[in-house]
Symmetry: C2
Subunit: 394 residues, 2 copies
Amino acid sequence: MTQKDAYTDPHYAKQALLPEGLRDHLPPYAELEAETVHSVMGVFQSYGYERVSPPLVEFEDSLLIGPAAKNSDNMFRLMDPESRKVMALRSDMTTQIARIASTRLKEHPRPLRLAYSGNVLRVKGSQIRPTRQFCQAGFELIGDSGIQAQIEVIRVAIEGLTQVGLKDLSVDLTIAPFVPAVCADLGLDQVKTAYVRAALDARDVGALQELPTRERKVFEAILQSAGDAQEAVHTLKALAFEGESVMYVIELARLVEALALEFPSVALTVDPGESHGFDYKIGVGFALFSKSVHGELGRGGRYQTSFADGSHESAIGFSMYLDRVMNAIPVPEAKRKVYVPHSVSQDVAKNYRLEGWCVIQGLTDEDNSLIRAQEIAASLGCSHIHSNGECVAL
Amino acid sequence: MTQKDAYTDPHYAKQALLPEGLRDHLPPYAELEAETVHSVMGVFQSYGYERVSPPLVEFEDSLLIGPAAKNSDNMFRLMDPESRKVMALRSDMTTQIARIASTRLKEHPRPLRLAYSGNVLRVKGSQIRPTRQFCQAGFELIGDSGIQAQIEVIRVAIEGLTQVGLKDLSVDLTIAPFVPAVCADLGLDQVKTAYVRAALDARDVGALQELPTRERKVFEAILQSAGDAQEAVHTLKALAFEGESVMYVIELARLVEALALEFPSVALTVDPGESHGFDYKIGVGFALFSKSVHGELGRGGRYQTSFADGSHESAIGFSMYLDRVMNAIPVPEAKRKVYVPHSVSQDVAKNYRLEGWCVIQGLTDEDNSLIRAQEIAASLGCSHIHSNGECVAL
């Protein structure tokens, strides 16, 4: 059978075939992803965020609590023959973390800091992102979502991404409830509010022309203020809102000021008209980007968890998807890898390992032939070989 | 609502309830498990085993290739609405690694060294082990399963378990094809061979009484030789087999000699009558134990992978389940965790982190009250507090 035949053999094809959107991660990618998760989790933990690890599958109901219900269509279902109930594969881990915080860790002192990483699966990939299994990593600060909590979460997110080598970061801030608050302040009814929100989300300046002058001017200003955070804050302050919306502007201003001071090299933008995609957030939302990669690296924001007695607790968190992050990560230097011929003592190999080398020891006699040993070393991807008591580059 | 009411509230119960055999791993367990996996993977990698990471779900067919077919009843099935095919959640990762080796990494030079870790799910837990989701970690040496490869794999397994603090390790060796080979050497037919294997697997000395004297003596000797490896080798050699079985005794003797020399503190046992549970292995099998925990920590052995053209490749690997390993791991010292009050500069917190501390920074003003700050620090599980420019133990 020729090489080509082997690849078209139906049995081979069957073995090699994976469902669309699912794939094998091979060396060196698989290791790099694992190390990246380990690094960011290390950062989260250094800020006191403790790891929790919920199961991959749960009863369907538990995974659809609150805002997670919108994921329903995108979750794989499976029947549990034991309980005869429907279970689902998680498509997002934040719902599980909120569940743990409000049940098993209900009595834990607040603020509660939790971190997590794990795989999530989705029924459908999107056109621009066909992958259906991702590794998600993040952390949640539960029981406090005030300005200091917001700063901490953005700080830890920036530091996590910086730690794994991402550069030229930018933070885009949104305030989902801001536009609805402005509408309320202006006395708009539900229908008009929905109209305005849709127009702003679509950045449809034309649609705003239909509004009375006063309202049109306000919303045009909001739309145009999107961009540099300091300028946006300036514009929004000048609009001099009354009522609840003022609170959001003040909060935004404080956040922008603190972040600009602490992270002068991180670009800060605001999109005050945006509420799409952050619907379940009750205040500030943020997304992190890097100039070197298309699409957001991660996002976070404020939300509320629910207790059994109907009471709520405010929280703020951040979550990143490793596929995006991996696209932006600089390729690390290959690990030093030395070939130690079969005849050399185990102690020599041990010493290399203690010095941090990856060591492949020969399994077969190389007939005392350096050339043969070098061939084997090279075929196994080694950078060096142990020869005549010395470490020699290949 | 009282505390008790909250816990009996049906909504609460719904949130907290997980399917039987599935659970949330909480602090500090979740972190300890993740660190343990990271450590053992580090050991595997230092021996040249490179990480691969297959998806959690695949087409059902791919997960049932070869010996994995026996897992069929214990795999969760799910429908893929995209391909309209049946997929399954993996219940074991070794089948996936063999698939990768014989397809995607078919052209990679041999021996191929691969490592993996990830979660697996099973439909049914067992009575003594009700858990249905495990973390599995292991490595495979593909393209060579000779005596040196066997020694390497057992070496890496011992070192991986030692690295995470396991003590008093023992290795139990089995040779699944040995009893069938002896039966063949003695000229037993299929029915008698099956009878003997069943008797030996059940350690049923009574059943052996039914055999003719010559055969009875041989199988009694095999049954009684189970135990200390050196003694077993001595007994088996003295039985002076002919034919194929001699080869297995010679191989076993070489392996025992090499392991005893390299790991004088590891207890070596052999169970030459055992073939149950290692059916798919084509030679030596081994299981690792620790005196401090009931049940095996991991197991491995020789097997064959299949290419599309019908050819095979011999391989040897090792796989551990983290639930078992975690039971045997010494509880590590708690990480140093310092509380830095809100008013203290970020730079102070940063310096602690650089020194390896876990740092929780206050989110609210503690009113310059040391007592209040100490209360917060203690409630958050800190061991120290930063006070008056110094690090003070609580």
